[in-house]
Symmetry: C2
């Protein structure tokens, strides 16, 4: 059985420019928020995808999905094309070693990206101060605590910061980054290769379409999940010197 | 750090009916094809998601993503609500123990689902004979070798078989299964909770939209990946007694 390095897509040699991608895989990471970006870069012969964490021990994702890093923080290339995170549990937001790693790689990375609460994590590392950004709708009001400016759009791009909501957010970020890093032709072909042809069945895919009743219900049902993030955001604001709602 | 069992969504008690879901996680599995379904069921308090394989040893996904099963074939409940697989490498299609497991659980499961080449794998286990089904466009012509009838649609449902293309396929299958297992209201709320509001950027997301030129290029670039599946399909047809193109 191959070790997983086999590229799926047989690209032209001139499109195989070396690209270094690092994705955070820590205890309590959300695999659904990173796997689109992971897969899209992972099937390109020229790209190296590092799943990064402090060590290579097994970690458990949320919901329950075992995985582990393939590259430690120490071994991660210092100059990255893409630094990315999806949602992680709130305790990671206050882990000094993780924030230091993200801040260090992020300040030199060509692109810094986050989907769902991964956007907020980049904010906690000081990487969204003064940038327009987005995240999942349940936590969008917390962006200002990290000095970010909430903006509309499925994918929000401000200079080299790129953020989105959950699940399909990382697919759309990846397609945009392919366009920047490899050009239009490859990015277009990838949209077809992965048949990114979604048809949401119920017509309630955003708060605007769902209306106030269903949106309130969804916020209520998600409250237990989101609750710890307010404290995290308030402490981040204090640490970063961000004044909110003053 | 929690072990990953924390449910995200605080549902009403009457929606917490016990549902058993099994998803194949084997060497060479494609995490992107299963993670939507995994996450959508995984955040429901009433559902138990089993990642299943012969043992609990680490396996490497494609592209490179370490994981492992959480439940062995032997320990997997005999009566499942959902049996599901995404794409796997071709050697799994001829692994007797895997095919036997799928055939056994599949014949009693309330739903049998597959996305991308996971549909073909269910076919190899004899579970699609006489059923309408779909898979990724690159391999759709192979469905008849497994006795399946290729059908149009993002998600194809025929009695209790449900199949789709890659990546977002497992999200759309999961939303449909929630509707069947938990009812309309919960399924609609989930579409909003996960903000399944995709906006494919390039307008070439299917062969019909991409046109013959880009489609031919995509097929050419994907040929190396798909090549082993023709032999697999031919041998499956012989084993299953399916006459193709006669």
């Amino acid at each position: 059985v191959p070790d997983g390095d086999t590229p799926f897509i047989d690209l032209d040699t001139d499109q195989q420019r070396p690209v270094q991608v690092a994705i955070l895989v820590c205890p309590g990471f959300a695999p659904a928020d990173i796997i689109g970006l992971h897969t899209i870069f992972g099937i390109l012969p020229g790209a190296t995808v590092h799943l990064v964490w402090k060590n290579l021990d097994e970690v458990m994702g949320i919901p329950r999905f075992p995985s582990r890093a393939t590259t430690t923080f120490d071994d991660c290339p210092r100059d990255l094309d893409v630094l990315f995170s999806g949602a992680v549990l709130d305790d990671i937001f206050e882990d000094a070693e993780t924030l230091e790693f993200l801040a260090d790689r992020g300040k030199r990375a060509r692109w810094v990206g986050g989907s769902c609460a991964g956007s907020l994590l980049m904010g906690a590392a000081g990487l969204l101060r003064g940038y327009r950004a987005t995240t999942n709708f349940q936590q969008r009001h917390l962006l200002p605590y990290f000095g970010a400016i909430p903006a509309a759009g499925n994918v929000v791009e401000d200079r080299n910061r790129i953020t989105a909501g959950p699940l399909t957010g990382s697919i759309e970020i990846a397609l945009r980054l392919l366009q920047d890093l490899y050009g239009d032709e490859l990015a277009r072909e990838m949209e077809l290769q992965i048949e990114y042809a979604p048809t949401p069945p119920f017509g309630v895919r955003s708060p605007a379409l769902a209306g106030p009743g269903l949106t309130a219900q969804a916020l209520d049902h998600g409250e237990a999940m989101g609750a710890p993030f307010l404290g995290v955001a308030e402490r981040a604001a204090a640490r970063l010197g961000v004044a909110v709602g003053g």
